[in-house]
């Protein structure tokens, strides 16, 4: 009897982390989808004609793994999406069009000494991320992923986002 109870407990303990990981992956997949849609409704003013791919960057390997899987064969402005892991240096980031800072990599973002990032849409998911230099921040509302956006900062970064998207998010300009 005790063996059975112990066996059940062990199975439960094994399943709980497993379910949590799956939920995180789903959330990452949804956020990857959001980022993909942000990219579709936005224009980068300094887009180069020689550009051959649309680069989605994140210092978070887990996110990039999920995003790579979710966005495989997806196109933005006829360019295939390439999800890569980057270090938060200006040289590394220069190849990115979208940079997603997960809550796990916020400390890296905060510690990175970066100047104004042009032509890079910076998206985060932590509290006060926009005040910390981001353009868009995900948040949960009623169990659904929602976002707030700063059109001013996007404009300063030479990115124009469609009003169709802007009206879906919470605008947080001063």
């Amino acid at each position: 009897m005790i063996k059975k109870w112990l066996l059940g407990l062990l199975i439960s303990l094994w399943l709980i982390p497993s379910q949590s990981v799956q939920a995180i992956e789903t959330e990452n997949a949804l956020k990857a989808g959001f980022l993909f849609n942000f990219a579709r409704y936005s224009e980068w003013s300094r887009a180069q004609d020689t550009q051959t791919e649309f680069v989605l960057c994140s210092p978070d390997k887990h996110f990039i793994d999920v995003a790579s899987a979710v966005l495989a064969k997806r196109m933005v402005n006829h360019l295939p999406i390439h999800s890569i892991i980057v270090s938060l240096t200006e040289t590394d980031l220069s190849q990115c069009q979208v940079l997603f800072i997960t809550s796990d990599t916020l400390s890296l973002w905060q510690s990175a000494e970066l100047t104004q990032l042009n032509n890079i849409m910076v998206v985060g998911e932590t509290e006060d991320f926009i005040e910390q230099g981001g353009h868009i921040r995900f948040f949960l509302s009623s169990g659904k992923i929602r976002f707030e956006v700063s059109p001013t900062k996007l404009t300063q970064a030479n990115i124009n986002m469609s009003s169709k998207v802007l009206r879906l998010g919470r605008v947080v300009d001063n």
Binding site: F34, N37, R40, K144, R146, S162, K164, V165, L168
Partner: protein
């Protein structure tokens, strides 16, 4: 009421034609426009809904992509303000309903029960990839409202067109028909009055003007013909009247003496008998010795003699008395207002004396006398036959009493005449029955002995009267 609507005048016919053309044209145009409007309304509704759907779909697509159902609701809710839209729904690409809103008082059951609905479905796509559908379901209220308005407009248009057409038709009718009506009126006046001197005025120089000219020309011809015809009729009438007069003369006048003849005499006598309280004397005259004059001097002289006698008889009576020749040497006179023997005797005597005067014919001196018989109406008879017969009897009495005298009728004469006529009739029977018997009576000489001759005597052995001998 029936006369109002019967097409019995050219005015009504023209009005009917104009109004028919106007109505048929208007109704045709109305039907064509109605059909077009109905089709157009349906097409416009579909276009309008499609346009609305197209306007909404980009934003809804974004909301679908970001899984924002609240925004989808916000976006599609104003669409329901349109009266004809019953439901708006957004589905994902697997046709799972994300959001569906219904108009007031509309449910899914209503939609399922109503088959006559317009369903506009728009693919929600981005970069050529579909993410769902925006479906708008609308009823026909938009079309019905528009058709209702259009029907009111068309009714107004129809009534206006009818009124304007009527006014225009009346105006055109008056303008175009007045010369024809004037022409018809003139023709009617001419027909009624037979006054062919009337003419129609030429009001226009078109075909109706030509018609008026031709009409006047025909009237000229008719007037000329009528004039010729009238003169011909007049001359023919005169000729006919003359012929009638001549016929009358031939019928009632004696050609030799110019006196009324026997036919006239009998007619006159009958007409006088038909008048109440009439009285007159009837005189019959037979000339004595006329046959001898005729035989010795010839018929020409006899005719001249009769002519002279007639003139003398005419002079013996008043103008209103009648002198007629019955034929041969017989004359008769009707003296009106005479019913006494004394006055009649004076006239008879006057006639007798007048006839006795010598008559000169072509240098020959001849003498005639007259046997005169007189009767009175109504004393001597009440019919033409009685009067004539009695006058004749009186005249024969005068003749039998020695001629050149006059006798009045009396019923004794008639009885004698009847008796005579009876005896004559019996003699005819006696001849047939062999009632006459011959007797020979000897004639003796003076000596009383010898009989040298005898006389034959005929005696009538009458069945009733016995042997009669004169």
């Amino acid at each position: 009421m029936k006369n109002i609507f019967s097409l019995d005048t050219i005015s009504k016919k023209l009005l009917f034609i104009l109004m028919s053309v106007a109505l048929v044209s208007t109704v045709t145009v109305t039907l064509v426009f109605s059909a077009y409007e109905l089709t157009s309304a349906k097409r416009e509704q579909v276009q309008s809904l499609q346009s609305l759907s197209d306007m909404l779909s980009p934003n809804i697509t974004a909301a679908v992509l970001f899984d924002d159902q609240e925004t989808i609701k916000e976006l599609i809710k104003p669409v329901l303000l349109r009266a004809d839209i019953l439901s708006v729904s957004v589905t994902n690409i697997e046709n799972q309903v994300l959001v569906q809103l219904f108009a007031k008082n509309v449910s899914q059951d209503n939609l399922n029960n109503n088959t006559d609905l317009n369903n506009i479905s728009t693919l929600l796509s981005l970069d050529n990839q579909g993410y769902g559908y925006l479906t708008i379901i609308a009823d026909n209220s938009y079309i019905e409202d528009r058709i209702a308005f259009y029907i009111k407009f068309l009714l107004f248009l129809l009534l206006s067109t009818f009124a304007v057409s009527l006014f225009l038709s009346l105006f055109l009718q008056r303008k175009f028909l007045s010369p024809i009506l004037y022409l018809a009126d003139t023709a009617d006046k001419i027909t009624t009055s037979h006054d062919y001197s009337l003419r129609a005025k030429q009001h226009s120089k078109d075909e109706i003007g030509q018609l008026a000219t031709c009409f006047n020309s025909m009237l000229d011809t008719i007037e000329q013909r009528e004039s010729v015809l009238e003169s011909q009729v007049k001359s023919r009438t005169e000729a006919l009247e003359n012929a009638n007069i001549q016929l009358h003369e031939f019928a009632y006048q004696d050609g030799l003496t110019d006196l009324p003849n026997r036919r006239y005499f009998y007619k006159k006598l009958q007409s006088m008998l038909d008048v109440d309280d009439m009285h007159f004397a009837l005189i019959f005259i037979d000339l004595d010795g006329f046959k001898e004059i005729n035989d010795t001097l010839g018929h020409d002289h006899g005719d001249l003699l009769l002519h002279q006698v007639a003139k003398r008889l005419r002079n013996c009576v008043r103008g209103n008395d009648t002198v007629a020749r019955l034929g041969g040497d017989e004359f008769t006179l009707i003296i009106e207002g005479i019913n006494d023997v004394e006055r009649a005797s004076e006239i008879a005597e006057k006639i007798k004396q007048s006839l006795m005067q010598c008559i000169s014919i072509n240098g020959a001196q001849v003498y005639v006398t007259g046997s005169i018989g007189l009767t009175f109406y109504p004393a001597d008879g009440r019919s033409v036959e009685d009067l004539v017969r009695h006058a004749d009897q009186a005249m024969y009495l005068s003749k039998s009493k020695g001629r050149n005298r006059y006798e009045f009728f009396s019923y004794i004469i008639e009885e004698q005449a009847i008796e005579k006529r009876k005896i004559i009739e019996e003699i005819r029977v006696a001849l047939r029955e062999d009632q006459f018997v011959l007797y020979y009576q000897p004639i003796f000489d003076l000596d009383g002995i010898n009989v040298s001759k005898a006389e034959a005597l005929i005696r009538w052995l009458h069945p009733q009267r016995g042997l009669i001998g004169y």
